[in-house]
Symmetry: C2
């Protein structure tokens, strides 16, 4: 059995959820620790995680390297890897990239829907690509071993990130736009460029990213997974469920609105559908990954590819992404790895 | 040859000083990174250190464990260990102890001359001992492996820290009060209690702590070192020069006044002697440790004790102090180790 890894969750964390991770055999999760929070606010969230690690050492621990995925398997626990969905946490200070990496941040999105100091979000009318600071921060993230995540970025900015990053980037939680035309989903052109660069796609199970929304069937989702493997590459696709378990709707409002506007922004929702959408009946929590695995196998995907999508691919990506940059990798790289 | 370690410096850092560390064969230095700075300001100083580490990887690197002292020796570099001279950096948030430990902070003074949220400084009229938060923070520092440093604390608070800490504490830069009656120097009673608890004394070369001030002779200082070994124990004494090389006098004002008063406070100085005192002629910078070693040997101290004082004792103290607390050590401990 290969590792089981979820490339994106943002739950209302509790012992219940940690026990469900164990019940589901989840070896590692990339968890969002911050969206619009300042550096100091982000540190307060990390402090809360330190408290959970201290209270539940039998269930979870902080993941820092790919080897921690194996440690999790060996000790029957789940390794928690930190990520940010927006660069608010580095404020306008490039030195905070290394500081947050030292504190365990392994992923950072360059944008969250809007223009940021670094790049452009997928909801802006005009995407002018990577900014001056964006280029500097990409180089710094490459240097220390923090993964560039473009899940909520615009297409031009994402292509820029692929071109400028000397290490593979990720879109940790999104699906092909050709399968479901959500603003957050990614074009075939972009996904092919991601694959050619050695990059990585985590497949979302968040209903707004799914054909049919909450009614999307497991079979449809598994067919989409096969399409994604064709577009990006079967060794470069994993899962990024975007599970927001047990969160009140005030949280989806925080995610969308932060402190950047006094108006309500419904993001992927609408005035009549403002809250978190109901999850599909085949994925409610960490105990349901076995259903996804079974669905992928039933859909005809070969067992090796299924193992890869369920976690082995993320594991290999973690292995080449979280350490300091080696001199040999410093050259600009476009070819697939 | 045993390691050469300085237990306290706060210089105006530069490549010149790092090269002097190498010229002097200094394997490790505990450097002050923060006094009255907030957490965010402290992080900005750590960022500046990260820049130095990146620019001068052939000269210095960040020390995190005692093994890094050996790594420094093996690679011909100096390991830099971070410390704070005041708890301003943790604000009123105990969670910042672990966060700062993760960022490399290995020492924290509970006070700097004044009352703090944790304990009482050596310049207050009344020392009411450890506060409620102080007791909680001492336990947290014990847990994560951050050394309690009482160099600038009052006697009662220091005795409290010795009694309450489950791991040995330090006074990283001070001398016996019975040798020179400075407010910052420590009573024989206190130094004996420190020694009995397994604690550690770093001997200061800062002229305000020396008999005769800047005119103190090396012979006098070495006699004082022998006295300190008698009081604390020959395996529990090292050097903590308090070298403030190349600092402008505005820095000693910041150290003394911070933002806590609008008046000038002269601390150990006076209106007519407000700046940094001139260093003794036998210790100006990191190239002068050989003079101290020679002085100790000439004073009749045996070679093993000299090796200990010059660094082997600090190295052993680092080894038992910087890691997470082992369950076996959690019991309250008063006996000498």
């Amino acid at each position: 059995m290969k590792p089981l890894i979820d490339g994106l969750q943002y739950a209302n964390w509790s012992e219940k959820i940690f026990r469900q991770m164990r019940a589901g055999g989840v070896d590692a999760v990339h968890v969002t620790v911050t969206y619009h929070e300042t550096f100091r606010e982000t540190v307060a969230v990390i402090e809360a995680w330190n408290r959970w690690f201290e209270r539940h050492p039998d269930l979870i621990f902080q993941g820092r390297t790919a080897a921690d995925v194996q440690l999790a398997r060996d000790t029957g626990r789940t390794a928690i890897f930190f990520g940010s969905q927006n660069p608010s946490c580095i404020e306008d200070d490039i030195g905070l990239v290394q500081v947050l990496h030292t504190l365990g941040l392994r992923f950072m999105q360059l944008t969250y829907n809007n223009q940021s100091l670094l790049a452009c979000g997928c909801y802006e009318a005009e995407d002018s690509g990577m900014t001056r600071m964006g280029r500097a921060v990409v180089a710094e993230m490459n240097r220390v071993g923090m993964v560039i995540d473009m899940s909520h970025s615009g297409e031009r900015s994402t292509l820029d990130a692929i071109a400028r990053s000397s290490r593979p980037i990720t879109i940790s939680h999104a699906n092909p736009h050709s399968w479901h035309a959500a603003l957050r989903n990614k074009s075939d052109h972009l996904l092919r460029a991601l694959g050619e660069s050695g990059g990585f796609l985590g497949l979302s199970a968040y209903p707004h990213h799914l054909k049919g929304g909450s009614a999307c069937t497991l079979q449809d989702w598994c067919d989409m997974a096969a399409l994604a493997c064709d577009l990006v590459g079967p060794r470069q696709v994993g899962i990024g469920t975007d599970l927001c378990q047990d969160q009140p709707d005030s949280i989806v409002e925080w995610m969308r609105v932060g402190r950047w506007t006094k108006e309500i922004d419904y993001g992927e929702g609408s005035a009549t559908n403002a809250g978190f959408p109901p999850m599909c009946d085949w994925f409610h929590d960490n105990r349901d990954f076995a259903k996804i695995r079974a669905g992928l196998l039933a859909s005809g995907m070969d067992a090796t590819t299924v193992d890869g999508v369920m976690g082995a691919n993320w594991h290999a990506f973690f292995d080449k992404s979280f350490g300091p940059q080696l001199a040999a990798n410093r050259q600009h790289r476009r070819a697939a790895e």
